[in-house]
């Protein structure tokens, strides 16, 4: 005689089921948020251009759109945010520099490797990048692509040098987050021949790859 009785673990199973569902939604929410935020940000960008420098994409936002990054070859257009905090990164690529976007020539943008900056994987040397800021539009050409260990190297911002650097985590398809590697794409103003740097006699500083020799550097205190 076999009784059909609901398993006594049912409630645990149900809980597991529910939690898993919540986690799935939580995970899906990230790319959804990333996309939706871009739409709202594009609106605030137009307001910024229209002369309202404090236009917020949504009422409670603590960031604002500062630039548009375009990659003509890949047909991409993304709104860049101010401040590279984890929260801002969820909404779009962010500007690492703390100086206002038009106050520096050495701009560094960072983005998530699995949302906005996934395209960095497809960038090639010679690709054209366009950065539109309230101050105007500039075109850059990708000149260096490299993987960097953050334990070994540091980002240096040299305000007088004109270049655009895109940063994201590396490897692109790693299952876990928080690894020490970053993918660094350095682009110099379009038309500037990078070979000039080799026999530079003009005395003018020509941009080079942002990160230098490995193994020659030292880790900064973790508290910096």
């Amino acid at each position: 005689m076999i009784h059909r009785r609901p398993l006594r673990h049912h409630w645990i199973l149900a809980a597991v089921c529910l939690t898993a569902a919540l986690f799935s939604i939580d995970a899906l929410w990230i790319p959804v948020k990333a996309e939706v935020a871009q739409i709202l940000l594009a609106r605030s960008w137009h307001q910024t251009l229209a002369g309202n420098p404090d236009a917020k994409p949504w009422p409670w936002a603590d960031t604002r759109a500062v630039a548009i990054l375009e990659v003509p070859r890949l047909g991409l257009r993304e709104v860049v945010l101010e401040g590279s905090s984890g929260r801002n990164l969820a909404f779009g690529p962010t500007m690492v520099n703390s100086t206002p976007v038009d106050k520096t020539d050495d701009r560094i943008l960072s983005g998530h490797r699995d949302t906005h900056f996934h395209f960095l994987k497809d960038l090639k040397k010679g690709d054209v990048l366009r950065l539109v800021t309230p101050g105007g539009s500039r075109e850059y050409q990708v000149s260096w692509l490299e993987a960097v260990d953050i334990g070994q190297q540091q980002l240096v911002i040299d305000d007088g040098i004109e270049r655009l650097t895109l940063l994201t985590c590396y490897p692109f398809d790693a299952p876990t987050t928080g690894g020490p590697m970053r993918w660094v794409v350095t682009a110099v103003p379009f038309g500037q021949n990078t070979n000039v740097a080799k026999n530079n006699t003009s005395g003018k500083v020509i941009p080079g790859p942002r990160v230098a020799e490995p193994g020659t550097s030292f880790r900064l205190p973790s508290s910096y």
Binding site: V156, R210, A212
Partner: protein, 732 residues
């Protein structure tokens, strides 16, 4: 069933574990059955089996449930962990107000005698805040530097640092700090990183710290070379590295002024007095130099009585780039040795250098070259490309009489030929094909590759050279090194490290044991230059199978004497019981027996050294003790031994620190004390700021896949368990 079990127990001497473990429920059932025997009789064997199955399936479910819960917990942890990363690495140093800003100026004094550089770095700090401060700052030193001195100058008082055991030093420092005394502590953190702590710097007060170290000047390709690191940051260098940074070349006899155009450095206005750098280097030598070059700085070179004096030309120089000096003496064409000794009363310290002959004095010999390439997963991408380029370059450099072979390894080892073959058009073609078709995949199983390479039948009469191209991403370093040591026999091992962060310690050690040399290729465009340098050297082994007879029982380093190649010197340092009368050297030169005696008192150069020799010897001994750890030396014993040597010779190591304390307390203990981390002292290139790398991955895909998997599994379990699985009948 329990009754049956009991019956079985009586009959059989052994029991199955499942039957042994009875749950409380079973016990209760047993009790019930004992009180009511009818129940037990009613139960058929079939039900019993069913029941057992049911219990088993519940256990499986338990297990699955447990696993699912574990996966969810992991997911939860990942979520919260990444949520904590929000503020990570986003602040720019020195622009935030949260740190006390300390300005610094640096003065460097370098005295170079023979192969030893004595460097003293004096840095001025000033507390620009209105509070008493403790500063913590890290500074870089070249690899292998022997730090042995520290002075601090507070006001007019000069305190000298003392080497003490690490824990003791820290206690002394902390006590002094809490007492309000000015104190400094220097600790070694890693092989080439040191940390200074400074306690009780008064408001608006200046303090001067001098750190002194000894360092061996490196020598290769006919010139000596010294690099003094000045920043923590790898400096971005204008132009491309491969093309060579323009050198300051000043030929002796010609104008003793450098002609190099140094790239302008951008200094924000109003800031230019901070981080100022002054530097003076004295090259003490009886010999004339062919050239002195400063790579990154404009320098003024003067000939003085006892050598040359090099000074920075630019009064506005700042510590934004490493100082890099090289100088070239004239050379004889035959290996010549120079000996320096120092007698401290108890023992004699001797430094022996064998200068390499010029390449043209040596006849090239045919060799057997075995190229081993790592094609494991970690080499994927740029690394493999560099390795391939390096190998193709190596193929091109083979001579017509050479033999060669190629091996690739990942999880499995695949040789091109079973044994080395002569260099022919066909074999080269095969090798090129082999190299270009390589793909990176799988694990790094280095040991079998080494083993099979070294076990291949040797070609009689040829020296075997193993060139190992890898990123060295291995975990079992010590085993591998032991294998190299055991199997190498008379072969030579050259290591070519590839990629951004190769395991350079392992690679260097392997080359050391293998009496070869080590190079590092960090970028594709370095392949040509680095490989040419390596090849130029290994093509012409100048002096091989070197033996040194020091006379009495000597303790010398390196313990394995490498071959002497054109362009590389041989350098040995020893501690001897007494002044050496004669040191005999032997070896093979151009395929012939070569002997040389160096007379202790009147060796070429005839320099009598200073106590620096003893310190350098101690530094080498400590390094060798540290290395022995990799070969399974006892950790505690080694630590004791290192501490002993370090205290005897006054050296800063991982287990000993330099501490200096001012006797008089200066800060009233009741006054507030701000602890400042001092990033403002970091790369003092004022033109630039440092930024952290933000964390730029969300990991949403992994989370989604994992949680969907759990969802699916738990849902199907829920669906099926209710209806299909047999359950236990209720007895109540």
């Amino acid at each position: 069933m329990p009754q049956q079990t009991n019956a079985q127990n009586k009959q059989h001497s052994f029991q199955t574990p499942e039957l042994q473990t009875l749950s409380i429920r079973d016990e209760l059932e047993k009790l019930a059955w004992q009180q009511n025997p009818g129940l037990a009789r009613n139960m058929s064997t079939r039900t019993t089996r069913k029941k057992r199955r049911a219990r088993l399936s519940i256990r499986i479910q338990d297990r699955i449930l447990f696993s699912l819960a574990a996966v969810l917990l992991t997911l939860f942890l990942i979520r919260t962990a990444s949520a904590n990363d929000e503020q990570w690495g986003l602040q720019l140093t020195s622009t935030t107000g949260q740190y006390t800003q300390l300005a610094v100026s640096t003065d460097i004094q370098v005295d170079i005698t023979g192969l030893i550089a004595r460097v003293e770095i004096t840095q001025k700090f000033s507390n620009q805040g209105n509070e008493w401060a403790e500063g913590i700052y890290r500074f870089p030193l070249p690899q292998g530097a022997a730090v042995d001195r520290m002075y601090i100058k507070v006001g007019e008082r000069i305190l000298e640092g003392e080497i003490q055991e690490k824990e003791t030093a820290r206690r002394v420092y902390e006590k002094a700090r809490d007492n309000g005394q000015t104190a400094t502590l220097v600790e070694q953190q890693r092989r080439n990183q040191f940390e200074t702590r400074l306690a009780n710097i008064g408001p608006h007060e200046a303090i001067e710290i001098t750190i002194g170290y000894l360092h061996n000047v490196s020598y290769s390709d006919l010139s000596y070379h010294l690099r003094i690191p000045m920043t923590f940051t790898p400096r971005w260098t204008p132009g491309q590295v491969s093309d060579g940074i323009p050198l300051t070349a000043a030929l002796i006899g010609a104008a003793l002024r450098s002609t190099q155009q140094v790239e302008p450095v951008l200094i924000p206005p109003g800031n230019s007095n901070d981080h100022a750098l002054s530097l003076q280097a004295n090259l003490i030598s009886k010999f004339e130099f062919a050239a002195i070059e400063s790579r990154y700085h404009d320098v003024d070179i003067r000939q003085v009585d006892n050598g040359y004096q090099v000074e920075l030309l630019d009064p506005g120089a700042i510590t934004d780039r490493d100082f890099d000096l090289s100088w070239t003496p004239a050379l004889q064409a035959i290996p010549s040795a120079s000996l320096t000794t120092f007698n401290d009363g108890d023992s004699v310290y001797a430094q022996l250098m064998l200068a390499p002959p010029l390449a043209k004095a040596i006849t090239a010999q045919a060799r057997e070259v075995i190229l081993i390439i790592d094609t494991s997963g970690s080499m994927q991408g740029g690394s493999l490309e560099q390795a391939q380029a390096a190998l193709l370059h190596a193929l091109k450099s083979l001579g017509p009489d050479d033999y060669f072979n190629l091996l690739q390894f990942n999880s499995v080892t695949e040789p091109l030929y079973d044994q080395s073959v002569p260099v022919t058009q066909t074999s080269l073609y095969m090798a090129q094909n082999f190299i270009t078709s390589l793909q990176a995949n799988g694990g790094t199983d280095m040991a079998p590759a080494l083993k099979s390479a070294l076990a291949m039948p040797e070609i009689p009469g040829l020296m075997r050279q193993v060139v190992f191209v890898t990123d060295g991403a291995v975990g079992n370093e010590s085993q591998l090194l032991q294998r190299v040591a055991a199997d190498l026999d008379n072969s030579r091992m050259f290591t070519v490290a590839i990629g951004h962060a190769p395991n350079s310690w392992f690679m260097r050690k392997a080359a050391e044991i293998g009496r070869g040399s080590y190079i590092h290729i960090g970028k594709l465009d370095e392949v040509e230059q680095q490989m040419s340098a390596l090849w130029g050297r290994i093509q012409v082994p100048a002096l091989t199978d070197i033996c040194v007879d020091w006379g009495d029982s000597a303790e010398f380093y390196p313990e394995i004497i490498p071959d002497l190649y054109a362009g590389e010197p041989l350098w040995l340092i020893a501690r001897l019981p007494a002044e050496p009368t004669i040191i005999s050297l032997c070896g093979e030169f151009n395929d012939q027996q070569w002997d040389m005696d160096v007379n202790g008192w009147d060796a070429a150069g005839g320099l009598s050294g200073s106590d620096n020799l003893a310190i350098l010897w101690a530094r080498k001994k400590i390094e060798s003790l540290e290395d022995a750890l990799m070969f399974g030396a006892d950790r505690e014993l080694t630590q004791l031994e290192i501490t002993g040597v370090a205290l005897d010779y006054g050296l800063l190591t991982r287990h000993t620190s330099l501490v200096a304390v001012d006797k008089t307390p200066r800060r009233d203990v009741s006054e507030t004390f701000g602890q400042a981390n001092v990033p403002g002292l970091l790369p003092a290139g004022t033109s630039s700021q440092l930024a952290g790398f933000p964390n730029t991955a969300t990991g949403w895909l992994t989370q989604l896949l994992l949680s969907l998997f759990v969802l699916l599994l738990s849902f199907s379990l829920l669906w099926f368990s209710g209806s299909r699985l047999p359950t236990v009948p209720r007895h109540s």
